[in-house]
């Protein structure tokens, strides 16, 4: 069975303009050769810090943005250059959930109108009761249909966004930071809901977040992005147990754990410096400027995504995990941060 989604070598470049002269001063490479596959029924996580290209990747996959290079195959068809009209039926199977629950709902439309829009734009009509059923399915009440978006809380609004995405029973839903605007308690509800719906509707997800905890909660496989490239990709448990890329390790180490005992005791890799500008990426390995293990080779040669353990691929000349069969020579482990004494 073919994968549901295959992205191959996706590139997205934006021209950068001077704010006054509007002259193109350079190019910002938001996505720099990303290849991903999503299998049917699975959830692929995309994590990384802001500016790493994860949202741009989502927009490329859903064809909200035109790729500068690469191909996208969805459900066996090449949709990279498909025109809007040809793409329209494909869109029934390829939906998206957005970050800002309010911004993603038209403030002038009632919930009823918002939820019938998918049908209308596809030249269909919702069956009687279908809207009410959708609402019920995402945990809202049918009478909510008459309300306007601003009458809902953030969590409820996000449920409406989810209902809209699911209205046409898609195969793949791209969730772009669906919970990052929500409070923890609401976030938990939405994460649970997404999981329930996945089972019920046999959905595949591309789940994008900067919160490793949330990603870990819902994803089967996770790709870590840095500066427009995928630096590591592995099954969830493998990734969290054996991060191979120094960046992944640093990311994991930086996530605060809500337990003072663990949090204060664990060694921590504190990365120095800032994210380099995507307009002017470093030569060789994009992470080398902040990498504690960087060596001469890193500046000269860009590491490619290579499979070490089965299903675990990493783009690093000096990966951390020996099980990946690579040398640890020359690697410098950052010294652990002095643990804070108990108060």
């Amino acid at each position: 069975m073919t994968p549901l989604l295959e992205a191959e070598g996706l590139v997205k470049r934006f021209p950068m303009r001077h704010p006054l002269t509007r002259r193109v001063t350079g190019h910002l490479t938001a996505v720099d050769g990303v290849s991903l596959t999503v299998r049917r029924g699975e959830t692929l996580g995309l994590v990384g810090e802001s500016g790493c290209g994860k949202s741009s990747t989502a927009r490329l996959i859903t064809r909200l943005a035109e790729p500068t290079g690469g191909t996208i195959r969805f459900d066996g068809r090449d949709i990279t250059t498909m025109g809007e009209a040809t793409l329209r039926p494909v869109r029934r199977d390829l939906q998206m959930i957005f970050q800002d629950p309010f911004s993603s709902l038209n403030p002038r439309m009632t919930v009823e109108a918002i939820l019938s829009a998918p049908f209308r734009y596809q030249g269909l009509k919702p069956e009687p009761g279908q809207i009410a059923e959708l609402l019920r399915r995402v945990g809202l009440r049918p009478e909510h249909a008459e309300r306007l978006p601003h009458q809902f809380s953030g969590g409820q609004a996000q449920r409406i966004g989810i209902a809209r995405a699911l209205a046409l029973h898609p195969k793949l839903v791209v969730c772009d930071e669906p919970v990052s605007a929500l409070d923890v308690s609401v976030q938990a509800q939405i994460l649970n809901l997404l999981r329930d719906l996945q089972e019920e509707f046999e959905l595949s997800y591309v789940f994008i977040a900067h919160d490793l905890g949330a990603v870990r909660q819902v994803c089967g496989r996770i790709a870590v992005m840095y500066l427009g490239t995928v630096v590591e990709i592995a099954d969830r448990d493998e990734l969290f147990a054996h991060p191979a890329h120094p960046y992944t390790a640093a990311l994991l180490a930086a996530v605060p754990i809500p337990d003072p005992r663990i949090e204060r005791a664990r060694p921590r890799v504190v990365l120095s410096g800032d994210l380099p500008s995507p307009a002017n990426p470093p030569s060789g390995c994009p992470f080398r400027t902040r990498c504690p293990r960087a060596a001469e080779r890193c500046a000269l040669e860009r590491p490619t995504l290579a499979e070490g353990a089965p299903g675990h691929r990493v783009a690093c000349h000096f990966p951390l995990d020996t099980s990946l069969g690579l040398s640890r020579d020359g690697a410098r482990r950052a010294g652990p941060r002095p643990a804070k004494g108990a108060p």
Binding site: D183, V184, A188, Q189, Q217, A253, I257, E263, L271
Partner: protein, 265 residues
């Protein structure tokens, strides 16, 4: 010795109660984490302490080092502000004036409370920028906020807050706008400087992980009230209140097996 003592603070905007009878106190040199979800009143509390609330009705008492702030005249509070109690905001970009170089903005804070020459102030600025880890501090002092990265801007804000060596820093979601790796840097920096200057910190955040790593004591807020308070280890290990418990359970954690479903409130 109690540095900050908030007693029965109530703040309302028209009909809306933002803070509804909040009390807590903070000792010198300690870190108090004020946690809660959005709308619980934690930010309003910080602004109330700073005397920066506009158009709000406030009652209760805020004692700072033996001085009651709510009842004091505005000039007295203004003199304290920036000097003995400083603040770091959530969004460092919008919190810095885009029209002036960062060095100027730090120097301005200093010169608002200390009589110094421009030159002396400049030297202090460069020293502070250097101290918060901004490379080439001398040159960077002349740059404008938009020329800095998010983490660097927050360092500038920290330099500005610390330049007068205040006794209390109120950090209102200081790392929320930052990425985790940068957040780690900033938290580490805050921690180091705090220890060095012996400053007390009122840390306001929604992130329980941040509190767990930084605070000495914790106040959990909900609906404008303190739901639970306590020493950080005790509170996390044995939360008394169901709200605190559920809040903790709702966080997807990377250090435990993945649960089938997350706890919800």
């Amino acid at each position: 010795m109690t540095l900050l003592d908030v007693k029965d603070l109530r703040v309302s905007f028209g009909e809306t109660r933002a803070v509804d009878g909040l009390s807590f106190s903070l000792e010198r040199g300690r870190v108090l984490g004020l946690v809660g979800e959005s709308g619980c009143g934690k930010s309003v509390t910080s602004l109330a302490v700073m005397g920066l609330l506009n158009g709000a009705t406030t009652s209760g008492e805020i004692w700072f080092d033996g001085q009651e702030l709510l009842g004091s005249d505005r000039r007295a509070v203004r003199r304290l502000r920036g000097d003995r109690l400083a603040m770091i905001f959530q969004d460092p970009l919008s919190s810095l004036n885009p029209y002036y170089p960062v060095g100027f903005q730090i120097a301005e804070a200093y010169r608002a409370h200390r009589r110094t020459s421009r030159k002396q102030a400049r030297a202090i600025v460069v020293r502070m920028l250097d101290r918060v880890g901004i490379p080439e501090a001398e040159r960077r002092a002349r740059d404008y906020p938009h020329q800095f990265s998010g983490g660097m801007r927050q360092r500038v804000m920290i330099a500005m807050a610390l330049c007068l060596e205040p006794e209390l820093i109120i950090a209102d979601e200081p790392t929320t706008a930052l990425d985790v790796t940068v957040q780690a840097q900033i938290l580490a920096l805050l921690d180091t400087l705090r220890a060095e200057y012996g400053t007390a910190v009122l840390l306001i955040t929604h992130d329980l992980g941040v509190v767990a790593g930084t605070a000495d004591e914790v106040v959990v807020m909900y609906g404008g009230r303190a739901v639970e308070r306590g020493e950080v280890h005790a509170l996390f290990e044995d939360p008394r209140e169901p709200y605190t418990r559920r809040l903790l359970a709702a966080v997807p954690r990377i250090d435990r097996p993945v649960p089938d479903r997350l706890e919800t409130l």
